[in-house]
């Protein structure tokens, strides 16, 4: 009898606590907490948490605290869909920040859209992510934009006439290989061969041996920074030294540590957001705050998730906490100052962002000054 009473009281107390918790404003987030992309996910998580903590410390939104509901998407479609469904049906969030990986972003964004919830995709670069219909926004550039800049730089600056490619057998790798191969030939170059590898692979020697045999001027690579570090090392061991062109996956300080000298001379495309003084200042403040809180430097995913979180927070400050209201607010955003640069969206939710080429030399990222703005 005593047990039943205390149980009933605790249950009521819990219900009461829940009631007040649901009065908080919720922002849903999916990111890879487990799996091959877990280290990107940890970085991203720090980015969202910083944004929310800064806002909550300053009083929250209209007096209410923001509650982050973070779900693991493991960087995989199946898990991401389940995570998004949970955020949509159980937590009933008005906005979801996610889409680090295209395999998650593509299905999850459709779920959000059909439930009239805003989906802020961060780094997914698949061209099919955005389409007319609203509710879906992408902060990073699409692969197509990066590929065309990569090809232009290789042909006009590096003067490459022949090429080979090494692409991950993933969504982004597949899109990259198609856009780069056709782009390169359109610019008058000759494409010899492409090889693929499974995401997370660590042994590329046989693929590299095959590619080396073609003696091409340049090697295009679509790989994460961890895979790239292995690739560079194995290229040095195999004495395979073409010019190398990669993508924004490589813009992460970890690659400088992991690859060391083997990364010297490689180029990669990346969003050029930070090239104006206002963004540089914001970036410096962001990096300082990030370091103070987590004792680490922010990586590229932390920056994107931070910007996405700030966008969501600003939307919630200026509009009702409902999907359609947030969607209307974000659609009219012009030149929002983020740490990744000024953010503006096209009518289908793509971000208008200049792409630049950077180089790695002596464990540092170096500007080449080559920038193109494509949508």
């Amino acid at each position: 009898m005593k047990f039943a009473t205390s149980f009933a009281i605790s249950a009521l107390a819990l219900l009461g606590a829940n009631a007040s918790a649901s009065a908080d404003i919720k922002i849903g987030v999916t990111l890879p907490l487990t799996g091959y992309a877990a280290s990107y996910g940890e970085d991203a998580r720090r980015g969202v948490e910083l944004a929310v903590d800064q806002t909550n410390a300053a009083g929250g939104i209209k007096g209410q605290k923001i509650q982050l509901v973070i779900e693991d998407d493991a960087g995989a479609g199946k898990v991401g869909v389940a995570a998004t469904q949970k955020l949509v049906s159980i937590d009933k969030v008005p906005v979801i920040i996610g889409g680090m990986m295209s395999s998650v972003a593509l299905p999850a964004s459709q779920i959000a859209r059909s439930n009239k919830i805003v989906y802020l995709s961060t780094t997914s670069s698949h061209p099919d992510l955005t389409s007319p219909g609203g509710f879906i926004y992408r902060l990073a550039s699409s692969t197509a934009a990066q590929s065309s800049t990569a090809v232009e730089f290789s042909v006009h600056v590096l003067k490459a006439k022949t090429a080979v490619g090494l692409f991950a057998a993933s969504e982004s790798g597949l899109v990259a290989s198609k856009t780069i191969e056709t782009g390169f030939e359109k610019q008058g170059g000759k494409w010899f061969a492409s090889e693929k590898f499974q995401t997370g692979a660590t042994d590329f020697r046989t693929q590299l041996a095959k590619l080396k045999a073609h003696n091409a001027d340049i090697l295009f690579i679509s790989a994460t920074h961890k895979e790239a570090a292995q690739i560079f090392r194995q290229m040095v061991e195999l004495n395979f030294k073409p010019k190398v062109m990669g993508s924004s996956f490589w813009y992460d300080p970890t690659i400088l540590e992991l690859a060391g000298e083997t990364a010297n001379g490689v180029h990669f495309t990346v969003e050029a957001g930070e090239d104006n003084p206002e963004a540089k200042k914001l970036n410096a403040e962001f990096t300082a705050a990030f370091k103070a809180k987590f004792n680490k430097d922010p990586g590229i995913t932390a920056s994107y998730f931070y910007d996405a979180a700030q966008l969501a927070i600003n939307a919630l400050k200026n509009a009702d906490p409902s999907g359609p209201a947030i969607d209307r607010w974000i659609a009219q955003v012009k030149s929002y100052p983020g740490v990744t640069g000024h953010i503006s969206f096209t009518t289908i939710g793509d971000s208008i962002i200049p792409i630049t080429v950077r180089k790695i030399e002596n464990r540092k990222f170096i500007e080449t000054g080559f920038t193109r703005t494509t949508k």
Binding site: D203, E237, T254
Partner: protein, 289 residues
């Protein structure tokens, strides 16, 4: 080009052979399909990192300590997780589920302690490999070949010439009869785990030297161990070594001749083919009745 593919195949094959050797012994002697074999590989690699990078020991010492550490850890795991199930005559599927739990637990512990980022054991600059007979091979790869050959030779001698080794083989042959003739089951179980995990740990250290460490590195190691063991006939030790080499060649020649996107598919396709060919796997010879 062919010689390069051959070199790549032998090096991969040597690692797979080491992994399969341990896996097949565990199945043969204990009739236990050990899903935690891959995590022994990972634990070996991380212990090597700990001894070499965190404590600063020289590489040979770091590897030896890592191997001993892994063997001890896995024997403890046996005492805690599997021995009790054996005492209750649990069915083998219960042991498999238990080993899966061990694998997940240990992998998560490693992630908590070391973080999920990739760590590296390399301390010097990367240099081009040595060119031998038209192929390029690195010092680490040469080490892999030497170490695996020596280990397989030593262990074959152990299994055939020492008392304990013969006990292992006796138990694999007929566990009830071997107890009757005086084989100590407890000691034999512990030796089997120590041996199998020690081998997996060596493979883990060698692979970590080549391609760095990350918490999920044991997943593909387990898959390769299983495939190679089944190709050679599960429980068949020379078969496991053959299976490992065969898998290494099949993968690398497959990447060479077919599209390289099929890499993982080759291992699984081989598994399917050999499972269909013989119920218990490739080359298991019939025992005399």
């Amino acid at each position: 080009m062919l010689s390069q593919i051959v070199v790549n195949s032998i090096v991969s094959g040597a690692i797979y052979a080491l992994l399969a050797f341990g896996f097949t012994i565990t199945y043969g002697t204990l009739k236990f399909f050990n899903m935690a074999h891959g995590v022994a590989f990972t634990v070996g690699a991380y212990l090597c990192y700990f001894f070499r990078i965190s404590l600063g020991l020289d590489l040979p010492w770091a590897v030896s300590c890592a191997v001993i550490g892994t063997a001890v850890a896995m024997v403890l795991v046996d005492l805690v997780a599997y021995a009790r199930l054996r005492a209750r005559h649990a069915p083998s599927w219960a042991m498999v589920v238990s080993s899966l739990g061990v694998a997940i637990f240990l992998e998560a512990t490693l992630s908590l302690v070391f973080g999920t980022d990739t760590l590296t054991l390399r301390t010097g600059a990367t240099k081009p490999g040595l060119a031998i007979l038209g192929a390029i091979i690195t010092p680490t790869q040469i080490a892999i070949l030497l170490v695996s050959t020596v280990l397989v030779a030593l262990l074959t001698i152990y299994l055939h010439m020492t008392r304990r080794g013969k006990a292992l083989r006796a138990m694999a042959d007929d566990s009830e009869l071997s107890v009757v003739i005086g084989v100590q089951p407890r000691a034999t179980y512990m030796s089997t785990f120590a041996l199998a995990s020690g081998l997996a740990a060596v493979a883990g250290c060698l692979v970590a030297l080549e391609t760095d460490l990350y918490p999920t590195m044991g997943h593909s190691a387990l898959l390769k161990a299983i495939v190679a063991s089944i190709v050679g006939g599960i429980g068949n030790v020379p078969g496991a070594v053959f299976g490992g080499l065969f898998l290494g060649f099949a993968e690398n020649f497959g990447i060479w001749k077919l599209s390289s996107g099929w890499q993982d598919g080759i291992a699984l396709a081989l598994l399917l083919i050999f499972l269909l060919l013989r119920k218990s796997g490739g080359f298991l010879t019939r025992k005399a009745s």
